[in-house]
């Protein structure tokens, strides 16, 4: 029997959530005022949770490392948000969204969580519209939809190419309102550096005020981590520069299990790397694949200009291999197909590590103005970065790390294995299995924050109404602050020769090479040794300038990279232990002519890792995945 209890309610899938809501424990309003909740991170999941909890009457404290909660990286999501509204009358339903998500995740997600996600998806759209989010509309004044990868219906709501921005600003506005009323105390430019654990329960955090370097103690009856994903472990990713795993990693070290860390999403449509100096990769929205056609030359090493390559010498490989989904094949599949084409020597551009995304047909069919209306800002962005005009020449794209499906293990209540510690949004592992479909991250972040956590957290807090606020001079706070301070001093004391970025780049190279789009037992084993060495080198040779008690960007980065290295080791361990290919996890040993070969017999489980000390082998706990409402099938998009 596993130590993991997912606490999935009994009953048929369709009524689990409704029944749960009817029976979950409640906290009466006068008690809510006495309960304090800490929310770390103010992206979609964090801002929506902080606002909703404050509306309910809890005393909320929210934290973000940016200068304003409005800047969290949810803001960069371009394409849209899925919801089973069936406004298009094209046969969508809650079940279909559920099924598409389960299948898209290559049958490695929990049925009950995903079904709940699909159920509340429609409420999200209602909520956002009421907040004044300016979604795209049709001439009749009603909401417009577009289609997205991995689905055959149009269920994606969007606000130009800035959907994430608009949804985040909606959540930020709700949060701002609560800050203004005084229900939320906001701590911007604060980074959580330690979790405070008292008698086995999460009771607070140590946060570093990034402006002054001061370590602060904050108590909460419960702590919610909404701190996003860990894609920056690869150094180059589409994540913002500041995105980090530190909060989640500290929680992991305090007893929260980390689930499926090897599930990383490599997004197929990013602007290719142009040089060593590059600091980040830029995503081109998946929505572009609605009208753009992906191709490479049929001939290897064809260096002709794209315009000079005649139609019959082009290989529209996605349309060829996946005729029913074509260019809208899911991300993991499209990424792998691009890698395959490039590995085959048919990649384009100077580096040969790119494929074309061509809009010539769309412009011919729809006219330049329609294409401009749909994708104008994306085209401009591409033009800015590459100095090439995508209206004239096809875009060059290549896969890049984009999202991490893995994260802190949570039960149906979104609670981690540490009582009172919750994880929402990309920070948890729960809804996307081994691959996330486009326009689903926004959906999950907001579902967790607006509609799930406000119910489920009450179940725990109802038992906390007699717990008085614990003063922050409690020995556990002393110990946590001491640990954080020691760590900072240790980083500053190394005074080695290599810069933090140097280590981060080295880490990224190892991860991309051995734990990226294609993984092998041999490579992963090699990576394990390399990472161990890198960790040791880091702690003996890193150079961090400046002091602890000031705004010190170098120090901030150093702390994050130290955690990334340890996480990297866990990712490799996880990838090595999963002897199958599924979704974003592709083990070259397990394939059917390039298609991922799952092993449902042995690996239909969630791998939740328990920390056993730095450099120690983490302990694996398995949560078996039961599929009662869908039939496990080979994921086919052909």
């Amino acid at each position: 029997m596993s130590v993991l209890d997912s606490k999935i309610p009994d009953g048929p899938l369709e009524t689990k959530w409704t029944d749960y809501k009817s029976h979950v424990k409640l906290v009466n309003p006068s008690n809510k005022r006495k309960l304090e909740v800490i929310v770390v991170g103010t992206g979609l999941a964090g801002a929506s949770a902080a606002a909703s909890l404050a509306e309910l009457g809890y005393k909320v404290k929210a934290y973000c490392y940016q200068d304003s909660p409005r800047r969290a990286h949810s803001i960069a999501a371009q394409g849209g948000i899925n919801a089973a509204k069936n406004y298009k009358n094209d046969g969508d339903s809650v079940f279909r969204l559920f099924y598409d998500t389960i299948k898209g995740g290559d049958f490695r997600a929990r049925e009950a969580n995903v079904y709940r996600l699909a159920e509340v998806s429609a409420n999200i759209i209602d909520q956002c519209v009421a907040q004044g989010v300016p979604f795209a509309r049709e001439y009749g004044g009603l909401l417009d939809n577009r289609s997205f990868g991995g689905a055959q219906v149009s269920r994606t709501f969007y606000a130009r190419g800035q959907t994430g921005q608009q949804l985040l600003l909606g959540a930020y506005s709700a949060l701002s309102r609560q800050i203004g009323i005084g229900n939320v105390e906001m701590f911007s430019r604060h980074e959580m550096v330690e979790l405070v654990n008292i008698d086995g329960k999460a009771r607070g955090i140590i946060a570093r005020d990034l402006k002054t370097g001061k370590l602060e103690r904050h108590f909460g009856h419960a702590v919610v981590l909404a701190t996003g994903g860990y894609g920056n472990v690869f150094f180059l990713s589409t994540n913002a520069m500041g995105c980090n795993v530190t909060a989640a990693w500290k929680a992991h070290k305090q007893g929260a299990f980390f689930a499926n860390p090897c599930y990383t999403q490599i997004h197929p449509t990013c602007i290719p790397v142009s040089g060593d100096y590059q600091s980040k990769l830029t995503l081109m929205s998946e929505s572009l694949r609605n009208d753009g056609r992906v191709w490479v030359p049929k001939k290897q090493g064809d260096k002709r200009k794209p315009q000079d390559i005649p139609e019959d010498e082009r290989d529209y490989y996605l349309e060829r291999k996946y005729p029913s989904f074509g260019n809208l094949a899911p991300r993991d599949i499209a990424s792998r197909a691009a890698k395959e084409a490039c590995d085959d020597g048919r990649g384009v551009g100077e580096s040969g590590l790119a494929v074309y995304l061509d809009f010539a047909d769309a412009i011919k069919r729809l006219g330049k103005s329609v294409v401009e209306a749909r994708y104008g800002n994306l085209f401009d962005m591409y033009h800015h970065i590459t100095n090439e005009d995508p209206y004239e020449v096809p875009m060059r794209i290549y896969p890049a790390v984009h999202y991490t499906m893995g994260g802190l293990w949570v039960d149906y209540n979104l609670m981690t294995t540490v009582p009172g510690l919750y994880a929402t949004g990309e920070c948890n592992f729960s809804d996307h299995g081994a691959n996330r479909l486009g326009a689903s991250a926004l959906m999950q972040g907001l579902a967790d924050g607006y509609f799930v956590l406000p119910y489920t957290i009450g179940d725990y807090l109802a038992g906390e109404i007699f717990t008085k606020s614990i003063p922050t001079d409690h020995p556990a706070f002393d110990a946590a602050e001491k640990a954080a301070a020691e760590r900072i001093n240790k980083l500053l004391a190394v005074k080695g020769n290599r810069t933090v970025d140097d280590f981060h780049k080295a880490l990224g190279k190892i991860m991309w090479e051995y734990c990226g789009m294609a993984r092998s037992s041999e490579g992963l084993t090699k990576a394990q040794a390399m990472l161990k060495q890198l960790r040791e080198e880091f702690w003996s040779d890193v150079r961090v300038t400046g002091g602890a008690n000031e705004l010190n960007v170098d120090l901030e980065k150093a702390g994050r990279v130290a955690d990334f290295i340890e996480l990297g080791e866990l990712m490799v361990t996880d990838a090595l232990s999963r002897n199958e290919s599924c979704g974003g996890h592709f083990r070259v040993e397990y394939q059917d002519e390039g298609e991922a070969k799952r092993n449902d017999q042995d690996y239909a489980y969630v791998a939740a890792w328990e920390h056993k000390g730095v450099g120690q082998q983490a302990a694996l706990h398995k949560e078996a995945l039961k599929f009662e409402n869908v039939k496990l099938a080979t994921r086919s998009y052909k």
């Binding site: 929506s48 606002a51 200068d67 304003s68 909660p69 409005r70 800047r71 990286h73 803001i75 960069a76 509204k85 209602d126 956002c128 519209v129 009421a130 907040q131 004044g132 989010v133 300016p134 979604f135 049709e138 009749g140 004044g141 009603l142 606000a159 800035q162 921005q165 608009q166 600003l169 506005s173 701002s176 309102r177 800050i179 911007s188 402006k211 589409t238 913002a240 520069m241 142009s274 040089g275 100096y277 590059q278 600091s279 830029t282 995503l283 962005m381 800015h384 970065i385 100095n387 607006y450 810069t499 933090v500 970025d501 150079r543 300038t545 400046g546 000031e550 705004l551 960007v553 170098d554």
Partner: protein, 246 residues
């Protein structure tokens, strides 16, 4: 490429700052401006000096975190871009580049090029929202919105809150930022209900934060990385007058 950099260095909010000269060589034309700054910082760290603190995050022009006044203009010489979307090919080899923080008393300097823009947050906190609690809502399509209005609202809503408008304005006015937010809600039926309270609260807060008045020079619009239109300021003014006298 090679550049002479003149960068504002200031240890903290209280310390006096000054321009410091740096030279940087072997810069690739396809580097972004911030990547050039990364290279400079790596060099400084190797030399044992403290790197230049600057705000940045998404590096794709949407989070609004990057700032910097580059060669006399917020976000540098290129129109319609944030600093992170600026490339070294937009400069000429051997050029001297002045790099300063956004300057306004409402945006106090924290360190080097990092400024505190929380005044924007405080303006939002008094009225930049629709007062609707989670779950208190009707079906989304029960609120039809005229497409033209929705589009205008979206134009206004695309503001990234970077503060270039304030940095460019000779009066350090926040009118474009506040006007855009007020416009977004004023144009939508959802926002009309609280329109009066909102504009009064936000306009008062804007003054309280120490931003100046709008003189319609249009500098904000010209420097706005998202091209937010001056018409939003006019709309704010209209909303304000009618709210004040009614």
């Amino acid at each position: 490429m090679k550049f002479n950099l003149k960068i504002w260095r200031q240890k903290n909010a209280q310390a006096a700052g000054k321009m410091v000269d740096y030279t940087i060589d072997n810069i690739n034309a396809d580097m972004s401006f911030l990547e050039m700054m990364d290279v400079l910082n790596e060099e400084l760290i190797r030399k044992g000096e403290e790197p230049v603190a600057f705000d940045h995050d998404c590096r794709e022009g949407i989070c609004g975190m990057c700032s910097m006044h580059i060669n006399g203009r917020p976000h540098g010489p290129l129109r319609g871009t944030t600093t992170c979307q600026l490339y070294m090919r937009n400069f000429t080899d051997g050029e001297t580049i002045y790099i300063e923080p956004f300057r306004a008393n409402a945006f106090p300097i924290i360190r080097d090029l990092v400024v505190d823009r929380s005044a924007f947050d405080r303006i939002m906190q008094v009225g930049g929202f629709v007062s609707v609690n989670t779950g208190q809502v009707q079906d989304a399509n029960n609120i039809p919105v005229v497409k033209a209005d929705a589009d205008l609202a979206m134009d206004a809503a695309s503001c990234i809150g970077c503060g270039a408008c304030v940095a460019a304005c000779k009066n350090a006015s926040a009118s474009l930022f506040v006007g855009a937010k007020i416009s977004q809600y004023a144009l939508l039926p959802q926002g009309r209900i609280e329109a009066k309270e909102r504009v009064l609260a936000m306009v008062n807060q804007m003054d309280e934060e120490g931003f100046g008045s709008c003189t319609n020079t249009g500098a904000c619009e010209a420097e706005c990385p998202k091209g937010i239109s001056l018409s939003n300021i006019a709309r704010m003014n209209r909303e304000y007058y009618s709210a004040s006298i009614s």
